[in-house]
Amino acid sequence: MKVLVAIKRVVDFNVNIRVRGDGSGVETNNVKMSMNPFDEIAVEEAIRMREAGTAEEVVAVSIGPAQSAETIRTALAMGADRGIHVLCETQTEPLAVAKLLKAIVEKEDPGLVILGKQAIDDDCNQTGQMLSALLGWAQGAFISKLAVAGGNAEVTREVDGGLEKVSIKIPAVVTVDLRLNEPRYASLPNIMKAKKKPIDQMSPDDLGVDVAPRMKILKVEEPPKRQAGVKVENAAQLVDKLKNEAKVI
């Protein structure tokens, strides 16, 4: 089967983000960008499926500005076979992304779509679930284990109280949590090879999808800062402060 992986270019997880002075958003110019960490896990899982023989082809899709092609190259260097880039210079909401991905799924006909459970920029945690519902497919959200056999996939989901096991019919959409796997680093030869792998470029218009946002961002601001408190000398002093000053124990 073919596996489609959706990836997003985001501000690198190590960057201390800066809110723009005019409240219009978070500064993304001259900031290190990389693939959303959850999406790296999604790419890794797809490649492992191909290596294990459960998948024949891995297609990496990204929706975003011209530079998103670099993120697709990273997925290709990890081992994805080809890329699809939906060029979109404006910010897209999960609703629009899900519609774009649905249009691509209809063209590509994959057996499984793998996404990161959330992007670390907008922290929405919506796209995979939305795509699954639009397609009328089963979903396995926040998974830490995936086993595909026959027409089903058995997934282990990370839920608030622990773990949950669900069997889902294929084709399906799954979104991945941290413990599913540890993504590989691309080797230099594979980075070179990735340069020759094809990336198809298209626009939302080509796919017939209206990506107009439904939400207006009125302002973006920094959260109130916490002040550093005092240092205590030892455990006895700590207990004393907690009991008699903060009165929390």
Binding site: I17, D123, F142, K165, E222, R226, K231, L238
Partner: protein, 317 residues
């Protein structure tokens, strides 16, 4: 128009997160001058519906009790919610893994955006939500006819669980979508309070060095009646299961007292605990960023500090 809250429950018990979502719904209902209703969907959950009917300010409880809804599978829950949605201006759910699983499906089928994990209600269509792991707060205005909202429960007080007298009405129409089946669950059993609702949380990081050493935290947790959590680093290292994880990619907590032990204080961890009332950091590295948000910092090796802390607590409590 009215506001519908989707209750969080396990068929036998109404979970406290519901009460925080009700607080949000009350604010919205006041803005629009509408009613507040609650949906309890599951199997054999009549008792939950009765508990929901007692919540102050609720006018009606809808009870969808059907075998197809027993495990609240997203595929089966979605059609029911979509069907009910047309009667409401807002669907509000606590941002638990259950709601995160199903609400985006409902939103997309209504062709509306979802507003995830709001931390404030500005007006009936404008909300504040954290982005970038809580390092920025975005005020967003929705233009959609139905607002699908999940709520960051730790930032809202719980509504009063008693005092209401709503009617309970059965709703039908549950279907098995035939797409998924529940195989089982492996829930972490603990005598300690739940992480997200505990008054005191004590968490360990990579500095704990091993799974066994978490026993040091557990003994202190038991003295304080606290829940035990962990940083992502400790989870990644395999010391504790993922449902211990506090941070952007795990749970968000805001207890009265948060004790971070051997945790450096990565952005991703701070996102999950920086709204705690009092923060204590115990770390041997005095440069650790966790001290910048801690009300009380103890620069000491945790293997010295924890036994001493246990002893002092025995004396003081």
């Amino acid at each position: 128009m009215a506001v519908l809250v989707i209750a969080e429950h396990d068929n036998s018990e109404l979970k406290p997160a519901t009460l925080n979502a009700v607080t949000v719904a009350q604010e919205i209902a006041k803005e629009i001058g509408g009613d507040l209703e609650i949906l309890v969907a599951g199997e054999g959950c009549g008792g939950v519906a009765e508990a929901a009917a007692k919540i102050a300010g609720v006018s009606r409880v809808l009870l969808a009790d059907a075998p197809e809804l027993a495990n609240q599978l997203a595929e089966n829950l979605t059609p029911l919610l979509v069907k009910l949605a047309s009667g409401y201006s807002h669907l509000v759910a606590p941002a638990t893994t259950t709601a995160k699983n199903v609400m985006p499906r409902v939103a997309v089928l209504l062709d509306v955006a979802q507003i995830s994990e709001i931390t404030a209600v500005v007006s009936a269509d404008t909300f504040v939500r954290p982005i970038y792991a809580g390092n920025a707060l975005a005020t967003v205005q929705s233009s959609d006819a139905i607002k699908v909202i999940t709520v960051r429960t730790t930032t809202f007080d719980a509504a009063a669980a008693e005092g209401g007298g709503a009617t309970v009405e059965a709703v039908d129409g549950a279907v098995d979508a035939g797409l998924s089946s529940f195989l089982g669950q492996d829930l972490t059993k603990s005598e300690r309070p739940e992480l997200t609702t505990a008054d005191i949380v004590i968490s360990g990081g990579r500095g704990m060095q091993s799974s066994d050493n978490f026993a040091l935290l557990e003994s202190i947790a038991d003295k304080l009646g606290a829940a035990v959590g962990a940083s992502r680093a400790a989870v990644d290292a395999g010391y504790v299961p993922n449902d211990y994880q506090i941070g952007q990619t795990g749970k968000v907590v805001a207890p009265n007292l948060y004790i971070a032990v051997g945790i450096s204080g990565a952005i991703q961890h701070l996102a999950g605990m920086k709204d705690s009332k009092v923060i204590v950091a115990i770390n041997k590295d005095e440069e650790a960023p966790i001290f910048q948000v801690a009300d009380y910092g103890l620069v000491e090796d945790l293997f010295t500090a924890l036994p001493a802390l246990a002893e002092e607590l025995d004396k003081a409590l």
